[in-house]
């Protein structure tokens, strides 16, 4: 029982990270039809921004982390939108997909060539020790990760649902034309989405790197997980991506322990196929109507 609880908590922790990344992913899709194949690399790379700030500029970890988030917002948010997405959007989805695939390759190679191909240790938020609750041992790190991720997801949810700006962003995502008629600055809202996505990715990066170490290949699994989580939850709902992410994390951990470690990676994918077969709009999604 206690091992089950441990698995559940570590699954929740992984799931919360997936949720962070998946929410950003589906927000981008909703507001600008961008399927970002480089999303995993967006999580991989901010850790290296932080490492550069620590090693090269000699800053302390908290300040370096803030700088990492700021640089991520600038490069992966504003620059990504202006340089890659904007010029290509008018050509349809496909060139952009290819471009983000190439971009992910670019980012991976850049880290490998200019930083290191070795896994880098990364400072953690809390000192690593074990905490015993109800006779079950949890690592402080994964608990802290869980708390921070949940707070961020909660804050984002609150922002999207209960603030004026958040609702304006949702309106833009759901129907840009009507949003524009209602006087919402659609362009600015889209830019905010890109900023939010990059910040979420940077936070996920800082949370997950102490555990998995910072390595240039980290993006592969994370990107795929975000993808699957977003579809399981429902592509057109930010809430869906959160649920999908958490579900995926728990499932992933339980399957690794109880089903097969070898086929661990297969479980989310099978879930994905089942969802597409029986509920293509996702668990939380609405059915989209087509206009002729």
């Amino acid at each position: 029982m206690s091992s089950f609880l441990q698995l559940l908590v570590s699954g929740l922790a992984t799931g919360a990270i997936y949720a962070l990344v998946a929410v950003g992913f589906s927000l981008l899709w909703q507001t600008s039809q961008t399927i970002n194949f480089a999303q995993g690399e967006f999580v991989m790379i901010p850790a290296f921004f932080v490492l550069v700030a620590i090693k090269v500029l000699g800053l302390s970890f908290p300040i370096a982390a803030l700088i990492g988030i700021a640089v991520a917002a600038l490069v992966l948010g504003v620059l990504f939108k202006r340089v890659i997405v904007d010029p290509m959007l008018k050509h349809g989805v496909l060139p952009l997909v290819v471009s983000t695939i190439a971009l992910s390759l670019f980012m991976r190679e850049a880290v490998k060539d200019f930083y290191s191909s070795q896994a880098q240790p990364f400072p953690s938020l809390v000192a690593d020790h074990d905490i015993t609750i109800f006779g079950t041992v949890f690592s402080a790190q994964s608990l802290a990760l869980l708390v921070v991720a949940l707070v961020v997801v909660g804050a984002l949810h609150g922002f999207l649902q209960h603030t004026r700006l958040g609702r304006m962003m949702q309106a833009t995502a759901q129907n840009p034309t009507v949003a524009r008629i209602l006087g919402i600055e659609v362009e600015r809202m889209i830019l905010y989405t890109f900023l939010i996505n990059s910040i979420l990715c940077a936070i996920a990066s800082i949370l997950i790197s102490p555990i998995y170490l910072a390595k240039f290949t980290n993006g592969e699994t994370l990107g795929l997980a975000a993808f699957v989580a977003a579809i399981i939850g429902g592509f057109n709902q930010a809430r869906g991506a959160m649920v999908g992410g958490v579900l995926l994390g728990i499932l992933d951990n339980l399957c690794a322990a109880y089903v097969s470690a070898q086929y661990r990676a297969a479980v989310p994918l099978l879930l994905l196929v089942v969802i597409i077969l029986f509920r293509p709009q996702g668990l939380m999604g609405r059915v989209e109507e087509r206009t002729v």
Partner: protein, 331 residues
């Protein structure tokens, strides 16, 4: 039908002459590379059918090549004649493509992309973990090369001619398909699915067919790949390979018949040419692709077409300008 431009005709003849005489002046490695180009192009041709003509993204083309390669390697290893294994690879990939596409194409959006993504990873896990069948990460060694019409293809030159004739055959099949009413339906689908549907084209069935046939091309390519390389392992057919094939088609120009030929050539030659850049090759290549997509999303052949159109419109405006003075003088 469009008239063939004399320059294109001359170019075609030069290319054909080069391909036929290449073994005379290339070293064994060069011939091997050309054979690899022919095989890769077959897979890219198939993907172009899915992507460029039916407008669906498949992220499993590399996995289908792997499936074909493993099928051929295992069957010929068990003593089955090569051509039976070759056909089986194509039929199997066609069937699996059909089964994958059937659910995915029920719904809108790019769900096929996601399903094929999942398939590609699943297949990799199967190849790696089911050691009793695939020998796991150690791969399969010593794959025999076939004997075609009594000629052994053990040497690279013979195999190259075999691969080249296969490429010609598949290119012809595809060319014929695109020009048939069938292929026209594919193009109608890409250009305007709703309109095609209202004109009585069964959108789903045609898209599914395009995808399944495209996958079968990959299976056949795999059946050629295995004896060419003579050693296969799961890592060669990971998602990266599928992505590479996708990049090839788009870099060459999706929806252009010659696009895959060009894309595969660039993909094989660029690493050789950029060898002086050493480790930075992928960095440069990916940066080039991003730039190309930003400036010309229709690929390299799109640039060629753009230049041609610009010249035609320049010529037309020059003709108008030549007429203009006489028009004003009559007033």
């Amino acid at each position: 039908m469009k008239r063939v431009h004399p320059l294109a005709l001359i170019g075609g003849v030069i290319v054909a002459a080069f391909l036929l005489s290449a073994p005379m002046f290339l070293k064994s490695y060069g011939i091997y590379l050309l054979a690899l180009w022919a095989v890769t192009t077959i897979a890219a041709l198939g993907l172009n059918l899915t992507l460029g003509y039916a407008g669906q993204i498949s992220l499993a083309q590399g996995a289908f090549v792997g499936l074909g390669a493993y099928t051929t390697a295992l069957m010929t290893g068990a003593g089955v004649p090569y051509f039976v294994a070759f056909l089986a690879s194509g039929v199997l990939t066609f069937a699996i493509g059909w089964c994958l596409g059937y659910p995915a194409l029920r719904v809108q959006h790019h769900f096929l992309a996601f399903v094929t993504l999942a398939f590609s990873t699943l297949l990799f896990l199967l190849m790696r973990n089911e050691q009793w069948l695939t020998n796991g990460i150690y791969g399969i060694n010593d794959i025999r090369r076939p004997t075609v019409f009594g000629i052994s293809t053990n040497k690279n030159t013979e195999f190259y001619y075999f691969a080249l004739s296969m490429l010609v055959a598949f290119a012809f099949i595809k060319w014929w398909m695109i020009r048939s009413p069938w292929g026209r339906a594919f193009i109608a689908l890409r250009e305007n699915p709703l309109r095609a549907a209202s004109l009585g084209v069964n959108v789903r069935r045609y898209t599914l067919m395009a995808f399944a046939i495209g996958s079968a091309f990959a299976g056949f390519a795999g059946a050629l790949y295995a004896p060419l390389v003579q050693f296969i392992e799961p890592n060669s057919f990971q998602l990266t390979y599928s992505l590479k094939l996708l990049l090839m088609v788009l870099v060459g120009g999706a929806g252009y018949f010659l696009g895959p030929f060009m894309g595969a050539l660039i993909d094989l030659l660029l690493p050789e040419w950029l060898r002086f850049t050493q480790g930075y090759y992928l960095l440069i290549y990916s940066a080039l692709v991003v730039t190309l997509m930003a400036f010309c999303p229709t690929g390299v052949l799109g640039i060629v077409e753009r230049i041609r159109e610009a010249r035609i419109s320049r010529a037309a405006s020059a003709a108008r300008a030549a007429q203009a003075p006489s028009a004003t003088s009559s007033n």
